[in-house]
Symmetry: C2
Subunit: 369 residues, 2 copies
């Protein structure tokens, strides 16, 4: 998507590859929204560290970063000894895979690149195939998000107020995003609308990342406290909710997403506001039988007890907000049941959550499950 730096607007992807320099180019997301910077990872170890240290985050984005990292590692190999090359690839693979051990996207991305490389008979062929496969992984991510936008755009009519939670934007993918894709597509079709971004405590991804994206894309928006959506719905000020998902159960249509998503779904139901979840097909889990089986990560309480921001003097600081003697409970995700979800926006179209299982063949169970 577009970013304006010092008055100059350019198109950037969250993750890109410079084949000449053999570097992975990333938006340094830890500096956002206060600073925009592209960082070049000089080798696969640095790329793995960038995943680990959250320079890059979001399912699609870390998948593509791992894929590019594998190609980068492969292309850094000198000589034509295939056996040595494959040993080297084994090290590169393990390094990238262990960067974010609980995430499934890097694993899938690495497997795809490895599978493509297997067809190459020489080191050189395998190196070329690795790059081609990584590029294809990234392009596939972009095409998926583009298709989500195409299907979802019809939900956003001119003059609407749209609510979103957390960041399922282009910063979480290679480009375009999932929950934001329908917004960007509707904007491209000339429609004017307004977006309310839930702040999304405790990590404030709505106030920082989503608001930054929408500002760059010049979409009218306001940040609200997570407490405010109920009041806005009561007064008829929200027409549509679109969120992303970390994991959607193909069998039940349940959706795991950032803590607070469930609350918005409950409010939306009460007020008859349509509630949509936008996802690439790779986030569908075809195995789990119940949302109760989804592990809910409990994160460090310091996230709830304070906030990161920038002081009046421009220093980035963590401030402790809460009573020093008190602790916190910090669940990272919650699960929204299918009955509260109006539709799931996928690259293959919009489906009712309970339809997913019956359409599992066309939605990719054959290849991923």
């Amino acid at each position: 998507m577009n970013v304006t730096v010092r008055g100059r607007t350019r198109h950037y992807r969250t993750v890109a590859f410079d084949a000449g320099a053999n570097t992975v180019l990333l938006i340094e997301q830890r500096l956002l929204p206060h600073e925009f910077k592209i960082v070049a990872m000089p080798d696969y170890r640095a790329t793995a560290r960038a995943i680990k240290d959250m320079v890059v985050r979001g399912a699609g984005a870390i998948g593509a970063t791992a894929a590019y990292g594998l190609a980068q590692g492969a292309r850094a190999f000198r000589g034509g000894d295939l056996k040595k090359f494959l040993r080297h690839i084994g090290v590169v693979h393990r390094t990238l895979k262990s960067a974010r051990p609980t995430a499934v996207d890097p694993v899938n991305a690495l497997n795809q690149v490895l599978a493509a490389m297997a067809g190459g008979k020489t080191v050189e062929e395998q190196q070329a195939m690795a790059l081609a496969a990584a590029e294809e992984f990234a392009e596939h991510d972009v095409r998926d998000c583009d298709a989500i936008g195409r299907h979802g755009a019809k939900l956003i009519r001119a003059g609407m107020n749209v609510l979103t939670h957390c960041n399922a934007g282009w910063l979480a993918f290679v480009d375009i995003g999932s929950a934001t894709a329908p917004m960007y597509a509707a904007q491209a079709r000339g429609r004017k609308f307004h977006v309310y971004c839930d702040e999304t405590r405790p990590r404030s991804q709505g106030a920082t990342l989503t608001a930054w994206e929408l500002a760059q894309q010049k979409i009218s928006h306001q940040i609200i406290a997570d407490n405010a959506a109920g009041h806005l719905m009561q007064r008829g000020k929200i027409d549509l909710v679109i969120v992303g998902s970390d994991r959607t159960l193909g069998r039940t249509g349940e959706v795991a997403n950032k803590i607070g998503t469930y609350t918005k779904a409950v409010l939306a139901r009460r007020h008859g506001v349509p509630f949509y979840v936008a996802i690439p097909l790779s986030t569908i889990d075809w195995k789990l039988k119940s949302g109760l089986d989804i592990p809910i990560e409990e994160r460090n309480e310091s996230e709830v007890l304070g906030a990161w921001g920038v002081t009046a003097k421009g220093r980035r600081e963590y401030v402790r907000v809460a009573n020093p003697g008190s602790g916190a409970f910090n669940a990272g995700f919650d699960v929204t049941p299918a009955e509260l979800i109006t539709g799931i926006i996928t690259p293959a179209g919009i489906f009712k959550p309970e339809e997913l299982w019956n359409r599992r063949r066309e939605l990719g169970l054959a290849t991923t499950g």
Copy 2:
């Protein structure tokens, strides 16, 4: 309630009066939860300023502060000239009344003290009556909160998890509080339970004031992001919700309270969790016919865009969290309809919200409406 400073536990009121020194003693609430300090207001002008600058906040607490301020001003008058004295009282009254122009409690408190003084025939008599009336106002506030606790305590059984939102604690009153009163009373009866404090963005009164109170009173508690209560209710981890109210409509049972209260009521209804509102009778508005007529204050967007806290070096700072190019919508309150409220805990007992109007005589309409 009790506060422990450097290992020494003592009982404090939020607002008290030192008759010997003719000073109003206040907890400096702007320093909480990071520092506990009692400040003595040397004259009525300082007392008015303390109300204006939010050294003291909360309906009951600012009412009592205004009442004491009027007594303080009266007692500072030297001489026996009744005409001069009454002119002086007029100035004191106007100064205190204008300190927080939209609040109704100081107005009521000042009227009560003025009415009591009217019976005095000399300056000295009126001075004594002013002090007695201010003390009576404060005692009445304490008795009311105590009665709320007595009635509400039966709702809290051993082992329960109780959710509260914002701060309707003793810091908002002279002592004990409204939403917290049943907790303190249940604790006094030997019951052990756990309290989840909603952080309560954007001003974080739950994470700061309520958590501080509960820690001082040694009640088991954890702070949660405002996003987390839905998840906890889904997992059966919340048994009871108790909140306060800034204004309760006697005709409809609707409750205006801190933004986010409505959301918790909607979640509680979905999960069959009892939802109670604890109020002193003075906060019942017998006139308004609809919650839509309650003016909803829109506050400065900086509250949503950042947070106040303490840095690692102990400096109190505001940090900007949100994207610098983005604005916010910041409604201070929302309105919860009667149908979502299990009961209203008052000093006169617990009532269904729709019962208030039929019981308006016993609940004080005759005297306040």
